[in-house]
């Protein structure tokens, strides 16, 4: 398998991931706040830590999509702490907007129904992970959805003098808000799957993670197809350009610790506006060399959701008090 390993190391940076994870373990030991209720592997994290890492992201997604669809978020019983979790405080959610995306009643694309569907699916992911984790489930961390505004300024979409970017303003704005999350969700699960232990594989954690990965990619496919399709229909690259500015920001937030699947070091695929039936679109986010999907390390994902490229940062952005995770402090 030497040849394969060589290809893979170029394509998917397992080594980078392991290096990052090892560093995480060291930091955790120093901080002395690891989840001592869950058996640690030799690498310093348990399968429950991996699932809880994912649960942080699902809380964020669910709070966003539920508000987009209904104007309100998760019900309280879906946010509580498991009795054995070292994190016991349920965080609050700051919205900062009049949440709920207005949709036109005559919309041919069933916009409200699609908002409802994605909200439901992320809500169920929260519930599934909480059920799988049982008493080890973390509570919802503090979440700040108003970070969409500063994030859009950082991406160069708006200036700070303009009204803050509001992902609930319109369906097009919602698609951009969703774009910020979906490719990240796919890559987070892709990066986390190989970290699950052999025992975890036998327990079904890996196939559950892979199954959620697939659903996140279905969502990402939906979001990217919709942005692209609406651009083609309107002969406008306005929202495609904005999405690509988001992608560029995500890339810049992970500078210096990128799990580079391609020679350019990017784990982003910019959307395109095809103009003929024979020019390719760019719906799929994957390596341009081998069309294998990207993975991100726990550090890279945290850099993005914190909105900070700085190593050692433990909170910020969408998570003003940090994630409830042993990976909360970036180490690379």
């Amino acid at each position: 398998m030497n040849k394969l390993d060589s290809i893979i190391s170029k394509a998917l940076s397992r080594r980078t991931f392991l290096a990052g994870a090892g560093a995480v373990a060291a930091t955790t030991a120093i901080a002395g706040c690891s989840n001592n209720n869950v058996a640690a592997t030799t690498s310093g994290y348990s399968d429950a830590d991996i699932l809880n890492y994912a649960l942080n992201l699902e809380y964020l997604e669910a709070e966003f999509y539920l508000r987009a669809a209904t104007g309100s978020g998760l019900q309280a019983s879906d946010t509580t702490a498991g009795s054995a979790s070292p994190y016991q405080t349920v965080g609050s959610v700051t919205v900062g907007y009049a949440a709920q995306v207005p949709v036109t009643a005559s919309s041919p694309s069933n916009q409200q129904q699609i908002l409802n569907e994605i909200a439901y699916e992320e809500q169920e992911h929260v519930r599934f992970l909480r059920a799988a984790l049982g008493s080890a489930a973390i509570p919802r961390p503090a979440i700040d959805l108003s970070f969409f505004g500063p994030l859009a300024v950082a991406a160069g979409i708006y200036t700070s003098a303009q009204p803050a970017f509001n992902p609930f303003l319109s369906f097009d704005a919602f698609l951009i808000g969703a774009f910020i999350f979906e490719d990240v969700g796919v890559t987070a699960y892709s990066g986390a799957a190989p970290l699950i232990s052999a025992a975890g594989v036998a327990s079904g954690y890996l196939t559950a993670a892979a199954g959620i990965l697939a659903v996140e990619a279905y969502h990402a496919g939906y979001i990217r197809t919709s942005i692209t399709g609406r651009g083609i229909t309107n002969s406008s690259n306005t929202y495609i350009t904005i999405a690509n500015q988001v992608a560029a920001l995500r890339a810049s937030l992970t500078v210096g610790n990128s799990a580079a699947p391609s020679t350019t070091g990017s784990v982003e695929t910019n959307l395109l506006l095809p103009t003929t039936t024979s020019t390719p679109s760019a719906i799929v986010a994957a390596s341009s060399s081998n069309a294998v999907g990207f993975a991100r390390t726990v550090n890279q994902v945290h850099h993005i959701v914190y909105g900070s490229p700085t190593v050692g940062v433990a909170k910020g952005g969408f998570f003003p008090s940090g994630t409830n995770s042993i990976f909360a402090t970036t180490t690379a």
Binding site: N110, N116, E124, A202, A210, L213, G293
Partner: protein
């Protein structure tokens, strides 16, 4: 992992299994037992990661040729102006493992919408790259491209399957006839690719291989999301091609369950492991029951995509060729529909 905490997690999972029993045997298998239920009918007691990757390579040969024909009007081993302009890889077919076959059928679609045409071109390029990366990874162990049938009508693979799915006029169905027909043809493949890679993930032993499988799994799901979204935009009320997706999903679920359990499909029709586009009722926190458009092929409770083992996938792509007429015993090699001479490699 062996402590009280883990025990609790395991208990929850066991409870989830019980819950899932009401949803269907295959969703159970897919979610929890993907690793534990490998090959019932085609028991391959010993297999390597390479065997798994070669199984995937067979499927990628099929997908890539379909998309190359639809987008460019050529097979993966013959470049033309369209494939070259799109940057589609030219695939070398000099592998000697197994029996090399030819590709029957397929033709370029005269796309009328930029959306569908450009999606076809993108997907063709990506599936071509999947063939290339698997061939490269396997090196001299890569299987040869088997005989592949992607012909329209009957006895072509697409007409045969469409007819079996009870699509109106299915016997003469051609995925190359129009933008809409192409989307239906693509629909046949993409969710199957997702379930196949999902099923394979737990069987792989090398984390490097797992990373690649997870990466390709994601891409297949992007494709599936793309196809489903496109169909939904074209037929938002599921009156036309949207309804075909349910017919195809039902057929796939039926074939998959024959492959897994070796029983008459009618026993399990109420519990599919496959869902087409539909308007469904879901319960949202704070809003109660709402109407939503199901775009994801996943179980309705946990919203986790399905997984299939190699026998189930074989039975789908061979149109039931992996079990005998009574549906009770294994047939190997499985032959039929898209693979008229069967697959190459261990799983066939």
């Amino acid at each position: 992992m062996a402590n009280q905490e883990t025990q609790l997690v395991d208990d929850i999972l066991i409870q989830s299994r019980r819950k899932l029993l009401t949803l269907g045997a295959t969703s159970l298998a897919g979610m929890v037992l993907g690793a534990a239920l490998p090959e019932k009918a085609h028991a391959a007691t010993t297999y390597t990661d390479n065997d798994i990757l070669n199984f995937a390579l067979n499927l990628e040969y099929l997908e890539a040729n379909f998309y190359y024909q639809a987008a460019f009007g050529t097979t993966i081993d013959v470049a033309n102006a369209a494939s070259t302009a799109a940057g589609a890889p030219l695939i070398t077919l000099n592998q000697t493992v197994g029996t090399k076959g030819t590709v029957t059928g397929g033709s370029k679609v005269s796309f009328t919408t930029v959306q569908v045409g450009s999606y076809a071109v993108e997907t063709a390029v990506e599936e071509g790259k999947h063939v290339a990366v698997l061939q490269s990874a396997l090196g001299s162990l890569a299987v040869a491209q088997p005989a592949i049938n992607i012909a329209a009508g009957t006895p072509g693979a697409f007409g045969t399957l469409a007819n079996a799915a009870l699509i109106p006029g299915g016997a003469s169905f051609s995925p190359y006839a129009s933008d809409a027909a192409f989307l239906v043809g693509a629909y046949v493949f993409e969710d199957v690719g997702v379930t196949a890679y999902h099923g394979a993930a737990s069987l792989l032993t090398s984390s490097a291989n797992l990373s690649v499988a997870a990466g390709i799994l994601g891409v297949e799901a992007y494709h599936a999301g793309l196809i489903r979204t496109s169909i939904s935009y074209m037929d938002p009320t599921n009156a036309g091609i949207g309804s075909y997706t349910n017919l195809i999903s039902s057929l796939r679920a039926t074939l998959a369950k024959q492959g897994l359990l070796g029983v008459a499909p009618s026993t399990y029709d109420a519990n599919p492991d496959d869902y087409g586009l539909a308007t469904v009722s879901t319960s949202l926190a704070g809003s109660g029951s709402v109407t939503s458009t199901r775009l994801t092929d996943a179980d309705g409770t946990n919203v986790i995509a399905f997984a299939r083992n190699t026998t189930q996938v074989l039975n789908i792509v061979t149109g039931g060729g992996a079990v005998n007429v009574a549906g009770t015993a294994a047939v190997s090699p499985a032959i039929g529909v898209f693979f008229p001479a069967g697959l190459n490699g261990l799983f066939k």
